[in-house]
Symmetry: C2
Subunit: 218 residues, 2 copies
């Protein structure tokens, strides 16, 4: 496993740039639940996921959470290196949802490469533009899509990620992903149960009627 | 008035790049209410405002609006050139709020410069990162700040932009800025009136007690 396989622009870099990356990138392992970076004052670097599942999210002053996106194999996270960009001021939290591994490129190394290489700089642009569209899409969902539809979409997505109908997730955690209160999640899940779409048990939500859920809410 | 004054990285460009920009940038005027670009399938180019006030906003399928940001003198808008970035998929609308002028750099010209110049590419990164922080901030406001506070902040901001206590704005327009329904705006404005913070008349909201409004909601 080599860093070269994880950067799509690798072949367009100069030998010197490749060398700098090989020398400075390091492979890290984190356990599920471990924070990786993000938040005020932290600046770990840029990382590329090689295994596992990592979550980037916002957290309010009162502790409410909202999931911005999940990083899976080969996904690249810039936010843990937001200090690289003077203009980026948000505090985005990053935490492993499962045991994960990633290549880490220290922020100052990436910044120097970005300032010198038009390939890396444009690659960074593409990543930023991509994340920005995702965030705008999420914002539109949050503003204009009713909560029942957002919850149904979340359960179906989660089921795809876990490759299972039985989701190990609490109402509190769902609330944190969707940026709402636990009570709101519980009420809607009970409604879904009354319609026969899901079964509920402590710490689990089980999808019982996938087609029905899709037909009603997507 | 020259394009060189409006691009902060001008002095770091090569003579050839400066030449390309001078030859291809053109000065445009639009009237208040005129659409500039944005939306599916349109790709005008990148522009820099030289005068006036331009609004970038989202619009839902059912026609609801939500203001992302305002562009004033020297502000630069990338979204009207979103086709320059393969990864950017959102439809952002851009419209003049007052009679405005701007320098327009055609999308393909900017794209070529960005692919060749590390200065322009990094400059673009900074703009993107900056917009992204603003959008995330806005999203946090939308999720975690109650509507009364958001409305109070909007009125005070609008008053600063218009340099007046008397704002020429309908409840419908406010709803469009804040991504909510007109009824919600009307109800809260009536509450503000009952507290003596504002006076309401057809097409106008007048701030009567600025300090009170700030103290209560900011």
């Amino acid at each position: 496993m080599d860093i070269s396989e994880y950067l799509p622009v690798w072949s367009r870099l100069t030998e010197k740039e490749q060398d700098v990356l090989r020398k400075n990138a390091s492979l890290h392992r984190v356990s599920a639940g471990e924070a990786i970076g993000g938040g005020a004052g932290k600046c770990t670097g840029l990382f590329v996921v090689t295994e596992g599942q990592i979550r980037a999210y916002l957290i309010s002053e009162s502790g409410k959470e909202f999931t911005l996106f999940r990083l899976l194999n080969r996904d690249l996270c810039l936010f843990s290196a937001s200090c690289m960009m003077n203009s980026f001021q948000s505090d985005i939290m990053v935490k492993a949802e499962r045991d994960s591994s990633f290549w880490l490129i220290p922020a100052e190394v990436y910044r120097t490469l970005m300032e010198e290489s038009v390939v890396i700089s444009n690659f960074t642009n593409e990543i930023l533009a991509n994340r920005m569209s995702e965030i705008i899409w999420l914002m539109e969902q949050h503003m204009w899509t009713s909560f029942d539809c957002r919850l149904a979409a979340f359960l179906l997505e989660e089921s795809a990620l876990e490759a299972s109908d039985r989701l190990s997730v609490t109402h509190e955690e769902i609330a944190g992903h969707l940026g709402t209160a636990r009570e709101v999640v519980t009420r809607m899940l009970k409604h879904f149960r009354s319609e026969g779409y899901v079964a509920l048990s402590r710490g689990f939500v089980e999808i019982k009627d996938r087609k029905g859920l899709q037909a009603a809410y997507l």
